[in-house]
Amino acid sequence: MALRNDRAVQAARDIELQEIEDGYTLVGGPEEAVTEQHDTDRIPEVDVDQEMLSNTGDDPESWLMYGGNYEQHRATPADVITPENVSDLELEYELSVGTGSSMEGTPIVVPGDPPVMYQTNGPNHMKAIDPREGEVLWSYTYAPPIGVELCCDDNNRGAAVLGDKVYMTTLDSGVIALDRYTGEEVWHTSTADHEEGYSATWAPVIRDGTLYTGSAGGEYGVLGFVAALDAESGEMQWQTDTLPEDEWVGASREHGCGTTWMTPTIDEERGVLYTAVANPGPDFDGTVRPGPNFPTCGTISLDLESGEWEWGFQSSPHDVWDYDAVAPRVLVRDVDVEGESMDIVAGSDKTGWVYMLDAESGQLHERSEEICQHINMWEMIPHISEDERIPFVPGAPGGNDWQPPSYNPETGLVYVIHQNYPQDLYWRYEEFSEGNPYWGGNLDDPASEFPDEWNESITAFAAVDPATGERVWREWIESEEERYMWGGSLSTATGLVFNGTQNGTFVAYDGESGERLWEHEFDVPISASPMSWYDPDEEKQYVAVQVGGSGWLRQGPRGDTLAVFSMDA
């Protein structure tokens, strides 16, 4: 069936992203969710179990969660594609997803005959795909309610799978569970009230029958949390607020934000999760929320069973630059540091550095060499007067925004994407007069004047050694249209690293040296992170990436493509 006759695709197209004063809302669209079935018989009914989830990082045939494994290495053990033969990598097919919206997601693949890919994109649209043929087996669009508030775009970054179900978060701060064989709704759980500004855009993660999800709405004065749901029933198991009461002055905590808007990292050995914590609220006026605003713009660790607090670390205390920490934390085990072994949680943050934290204690093992430039870093308060503004780097998108790093087991390095573009932040201080805006803050992108020290490169892709924080190599990536680089990378067991740029270039790097070994050009930006799997019946390794512009600033033109590359074994 052609996608133009697919009612779920049509429903997604009907949902319009409309600009409002503080961001976006969704209008149009179906009153009820839509499932369109094309060929559901093709889906092998073999439930995904916990053993498969725990081992997916070592299984070249599967990619069962957003981050590739619980540690979020985004690394495939498939070894058909090597530095020596990657120049022969070819496009197998391009599938038009048909919805013309945000394309920031990473698909997952359940092994079988055929394998089944679950792929999501905005607005809350999912497809089950036969990835051998590039054919849609079923598609689904969630019906968002009226009044959703979105800061940035109608994103959905991926699915999670367990048993006979597949899951995604919904833009109204919920989680939907679908029968993964038929695409029909099983349950929906709301984790918070979207009318208060909460939403959800990330891929959830499941472990031991529990689905873990976070919170979004840091521009709307929400209170951030992490939640655990029973994956079978959708029932809430626990919900932990990210902001401890005794770390905030009085009621300033109630709208203190500290959301957790990307996929948590699971440490099966310690029985904890690690997640980044975003900006405090209000974003730019720190005087109404004094103190460090712990643990915003940082990393926290919570117990998987109870949601209880383990530790927290901040990369930008009392932040007024929107320096969220958000990119998924990467857990690197058994890092050799001067003869001793330690587990490290690597957080690549908007502040422009990568933080290597001791997974046990939350202490900083080391902070990396800088990835982007630092110009007038942290200099805005208090040294400005009402007419003054200075440009600063990193700007509010970072550094590292949500773009997931990858960890390559072959090279032992972590690969990160950082923006590097001057913005202005200023306070509009005015004498109070009734009925007029008083003061607040605002951002100008770009800065009104570019600092002399800026190197004119808008983005960087870099490799960092987690043992020492050494920046082993860095490639400055420029963009004539001045777009940010908005996807994330994929590492392979053979030492390759794939990354898609804002110029539409999909690159395979030698992970050791940073040399570009292969490129493929698309017409529109890549704003998503690739993934890979091996199909033993086809005897091929595949690499898949979603293509299309997305983001809250400088996104570039939309695209509609799931591109799949392959190489014969």
């Binding site: 503080d22 004065g221 770390e247 905030w248 002055v249 009085g250 009621a251 300033s252 109630e254 709208h255 609220g281 209000p282 006026d285 005087t287 109404v288 004094p290 103190g291 460090p292 712990f294 670390f313 901040q314 930008s316 205390p317 009392h318 540091v337 001067e338 939350g362 202490q363 900083l364 093992h365 080391e366 902070r367 060499e369 800088e370 630092h374 870093m377 942290w378 308060i381 208090p382 007067s385 009402e386 306070w427 201080y429 109070f432 009734e434 009925g435 007029n436 805006p437 008083y438 003061w439 607040g440 043992a467 020492t468 924080g469 050494e470």
Partner: protein, 291 residues
């Protein structure tokens, strides 16, 4: 303090800078003319009326003395260097301040200050600095807890030279509706000043311990320097609160000035701490031992 800052302070107070440029509390106090300010007086009177009978004099005097002890032992705290656990060293320093804070919260002290004290504007700040200089009980108390002449002058500087920065801290009941955030949950200004300062002091344990690989002696020196200033501000507020609760030696103008100044010092020094100790740029950090 730079020469320029000292000169600015003297100019702000209408005092001639001496030839060698050195401006001290003593010098300024000797040259300031008393000036009756009825607005300040009436505010002080209103606060006395508001809080009469609610303050626990014994608690206030005890914790004021405890804060003084913490100020006196700061050099021992500095000698420890980086704390060896995420809670303990600086947490103890903050403890009497928290007990003071909790009591003041209970009796709605901060609400009363927001209602009755002047907002931070250039004129009010200048008056505050003048009145502080003339408040002998306050000056000698600061001497007693170990603020030397230059440290006392630095406190004064915090108050007098930062009117633009202080003006951003607005009493909660004066933040109008046009701002982009919810105003009802903003705590009173004077609660924010003190609560914020105490959170920073306590937070030093975790921050220094976690970031040990980047911490230098200079950062530790600055930590103690600004903790001392914050405690100094707390001590000034506590002294004024004791006066309110007890024998009322301050004039009403002096009372207004002391309460305003106490908060101003807490505000300015917590922002300085943030920049010197918490925001660690590459040019400030200890070099990596691993690369």
């Amino acid at each position: 303090m730079t020469v320029a800052e000292q000169r600015d302070l003297a100019t702000a107070l209408g005092v001639d800078t001496p030839g060698d440029g050195t401006v001290t509390w003593e010098l300024l106090a000797g040259q300031i003319e008393p000036r009756s300010d009825s607005a300040f007086a009436s505010r002080g009177e209103a606060i006395r009326a508001d809080l009469a009978g609610r303050l626990d004099q014994e608690l206030l005097e005890r914790e004021r003395e405890n804060i003084a002890d913490e100020i006196r032992r700061l050099s021992d705290v500095r000698d420890v260097g980086v704390p060896d656990e995420p809670s303990g060293l600086y947490t103890d320093v903050a403890a009497p301040g928290w007990r003071l804070y909790d009591h003041l919260l209970e009796v709605n002290f901060f609400e009363s200050l927001d209602e009755n004290l002047p907002r931070f504007t250039a004129d009010h700040i200048e008056t505050t600095a003048r009145e502080l200089l003339l408040a002998d009980p306050l000056s000698s108390s600061l001497d007693d807890v170990g603020f030397d002449e230059s440290e006392k002058t630095a406190l004064l500087l915090d108050v007098a030279n930062n009117d633009e920065r202080l003006a951003r801290w607005v009493p909660s009941n004066q933040i109008p509706d046009g701002v982009e955030f919810e105003t009802e949950t903003v705590p009173p200004l004077h609660q924010r000043a003190m609560g914020g300062a105490l959170l920073w002091i306590r937070g030093l344990d975790r921050h220094l311990w976690q970031n040990e690989v980047m911490i230098t002696d200079e950062i530790l020196d600055d930590a103690v320097r600004y903790v001392k200033a914050m405690l100094g501000g707390l001590f000034v507020t506590a002294t004024a609160a004791c006066d309110l609760a007890g024998d009322g030696q301050f004039t009403d103008e002096q009372l207004t000035a002391a309460l305003t100044a106490g908060s101003a010092v807490q505000i300015v020094s917590q922002e300085e701490l943030l920049h010197s100790v918490f925001y660690i740029r590459d040019d400030m950090r200890a070099p990596s031992e691993l690369r």
